[in-house]
Amino acid sequence: MWKMEEAKVGVFLSDCAKQLSEILDFKALTDFVKKVPNVVSVTRGSEFHRGTGLNAIIEAVKGKKINRIVVAETLPKLSEVIIAKAVEEAGLNPYLVEVIDLKDHCASPHRDAPAEATEKAKAMLLAAIERAKLLEPIEKLEFPASKSVLVIGGGIAGMQTAEDLADLGFEVHLVEKAPFLGGLAARAGRFFPTDDCAICIESPSSDVKAITHTSRKCVYRSGFPEIPNLNIMTNSKVVSVEGVPGDYKVTVEKKPRYVNESKCVGCDVCTTVCPVEVPDEYNAKLKTRKAIYMNNPPVHPPVYVIDESACKFQDCAKCVEVCPTKAIKLDQKPEKVKLNVGGIVVATGFREYDPSVIKEYHYGEYPDIITNLELARMIDGFGPTAGTIVKPSDRKPAKRIVFIQCVGSRDRRWNPWCSGICCMISLKHAMLVKSANPDADISMCYIDIRTTGREHEYYYEKAREMGIKFVKGRPTEILHDPDGNVLVVDVEDQILRKFMELEADLVVLAPAMVPAEGTKELAQTLGLELDQDGFFKEYNSKLRPTETKMRGIYLCGGATFPKDAPTSSLHAHSAAVKAAKFLMSGKITKDQRTAIVNEEYCGDCEFCPVTCPFNAISLEPEGEEHFVAKVSDLRCEGCGICVGTCPVNAIELRHSRPNQMAAQMNGLMSVNGTKKPLVLAITCSECGHTVVDSSGMAMMQYPANVRVMKVPCTGILQVHQFLQAFKAGAQGVMVVGCKTDGCHYEVGSQKAQKKVDLTKVLLKEYGIEPERLEMFHMVYIEGDKFAEAAQTMTEKLEKLGQLQLSEPV
């Protein structure tokens, strides 16, 4: 353990070009500070984050005159970074610096009471000095980062992100669970609103074999598979992920293809002898395929695969005999592949909801009711009906087609969200069918038409121009009239206020877009969270898109929410940049402002591993039948929620140790100078502290007896610390944290609320008014609410009178 040396504190007071000294009595402050033990120098200046001010600090450090620094500076959050860097270069550990804000936290909000403001300033300085004396140097740690990435999912997003990373020089492993790449996009036919072929557009922008860099190439001839450092594994699934960011150990299970990839020439002779025919799921079961097959058009790899649930294996083996290159190996076994990667990108996409649960729509019962994806296969010239639109029941041409939107979407019984892309998909299909079949009679039943993207409204316009009909109403049921084998859609056109029975040869449902199969399991394997709709959750889609709570794991594409092609592409590029930034330097640098366990006290109760939002704590066996908690410095985000949870105080957070926090508390409560009741406001370093900043920046006035102390997250606070505050001289305590659904560390603010509620019960038991302790949840722009709360608390305490503690402090 590091031993505390004799602290020599240098205090630097900025009067902000004499602005602050208009309000605060700097002479009194200087005199006060000089008297504090261990303060060796007090310097007053205009500013200390640049120029001569900064130089003064640097010189003092270089001259070894000081080993702890307290700066009262404006824009402390910015200045702190600059000063710490300069101090580090000068030879002192940058975490031995404490910067406070005498402007927005003192002079500005209390300018109507300058004497009281000065007293508060004294307390703030004392608190900062006492804390600085107890600060310890914090090391910068380095962890290895393997320059390799695992991409899970080989659809449009997965391929793009894999290619970006491979181009940037990373080793990329692209794992796809289907036997071929391409995902949903390969089956979509065309992409709206330009109606270009999806198979071409989904091809990532590769420069390999490009004649000019404007030439686009369908994915099967794009050269994508030939990109160096790209290892493509199809027919494979991620089974387990262990390790830490920068050093993930992944196990992938490769299902046997039964065809040797290096020997298959794609001649198709095997399918001609295969006796087994099964419904072709890739083609919406509108045709059959053999047990050995390849999709058409082929997306990588151009190698046949055997469907092991259909094949008769050694009972038949006809394909083995006829294969000219002897490529078929019926005895192939699943293979477990172990990978070491630095980062992971999840690009597992989405799928169509199965509408058979919506019984009133009879999907699955009446064969002529199909989904958009199934229609896409029919429209596709490569598809099972060679581009003709037919009724699956009797293969007769389908002339009258009715689309029904929002099937299982925007539906609180099934999937409450709007899937976003289905209006455009149905419009695309309606127009493609109409162009190829001008005598087609097409209607669309809708609740709303949502065409919000770039050029999407013109798409809708074009559909109307082509004579596609729109019925505003959601059908209640689809009936089947056996007389004529015709479907009848029972719907109210609410604009005409007329009940309609629309006759249709084909009814096309636009089902909800839901998370891909296996999402729940994958989320568990990776330790990721799902949002309320079941999609992978981004850490913050505005501030940190594609990132997740787990460092080194990123999301892109439809896996976070249904998206169209341009947006998936963008998202994929984003994720690649994030992963590259993380792993580029080959190492992960992090300071050690992390939690540390006192293993002697640890009672292996399991509270902290369960509570930590970042899975940073694990239980390690020690001796027989005893476990201790161990913190991963790499995963720990320095919130301190574990500290607030531990029932035996066995865990502490560096840089916010209990003695450091107590020193601040005592310092802030030690100087009053007025008759007003002292209030300790404990704020989190995120929303809590910034709301105090903003009230000062906006010059809102509140009483100077309210003194502010910062902690990383209110989750770090324990019940006894509230009681400690009262003992230290607080008449009231305000805890200010983020909103409970917006805590920057997920659960800290909620946990603090619970502890405050518990403490209020205890206070009542002790005969102390529980209203003396309150928690507030505020955000930065609510500066006025903070000022109001501080004022209200002060008035309330004045009414309650002096706090009577039964024992002397």
Partner: protein, 172 residues
């Protein structure tokens, strides 16, 4: 010749009033998809009734029209709309809430006044004639147990049912 258009006063918070009533809690979820209308056996038979319309008018604040034009009494309580509604609006229950409000404000169809009278007198909405009761042994039926008409009267008093102004209004 143009007819004079009169602007009827709206009750802009009517939907909130209904949402605070028993049965009416879900009215504001409606996004006017029209599934209820095409599920409704009554709407398909007469154009005097359309559940989607009734909710739309209520949401827009046409309180007077909704409570007095008689449409709300045409619901046959088959619950098909509530079963199929994609927003889980409890449409049939909302119509009950509208009816409850209409009665409180004095719009009472004759037959409902009759039901109420039967209930308050005998504890049953369909009175049992002595003729039929006497014939019970003929069909091997045991004597009818006494009805809890006293308990009924007390409950009607506790909820204020018996203080509703039952004067017969013209039912539309």
């Amino acid at each position: 010749m143009e007819s004079e258009k009169q602007r009827k006063p709206l009750s802009p918070f009517f939907s909130e009033e209904i949402a605070h009533r028993l049965g009416g809690e879900t009215i504001t979820l409606c996004y006017q998809c029209g599934t209820c209308a095409s599920s409704c056996p009554v709407a398909k038979t007469t154009d005097k009734f359309n559940p989607r319309d009734i909710i739309k008018l209520s949401l827009l604040g046409e309180k007077q029209q909704v409570l007095s034009d008689g449409a709300i009494w045409l619901c046959s309580s088959c619950y098909n709309c509530q079963e199929r509604c994609p927003q889980k609006v409890e449409i049939a229950d909302v119509i009950y809430a509208l009816r409850n409000t209409a009665i409180k404000e004095g719009h009472i169809p004759n037959i409902y006044a009759e039901f109420a009278a039967g209930l308050m007198a005998e504890g049953r909405i369909v009175p049992i004639s002595k003729f039929v009761e006497k014939k019970r042994p003929e069909y091997g039926l045991p004597t009818l147990k006494p009805a809890g008409s006293d308990a009924m009267k007390k409950i009607l008093s506790a909820t204020g049912f018996d203080r509703i102004k039952w004067k017969k209004e013209e039912a539309s």
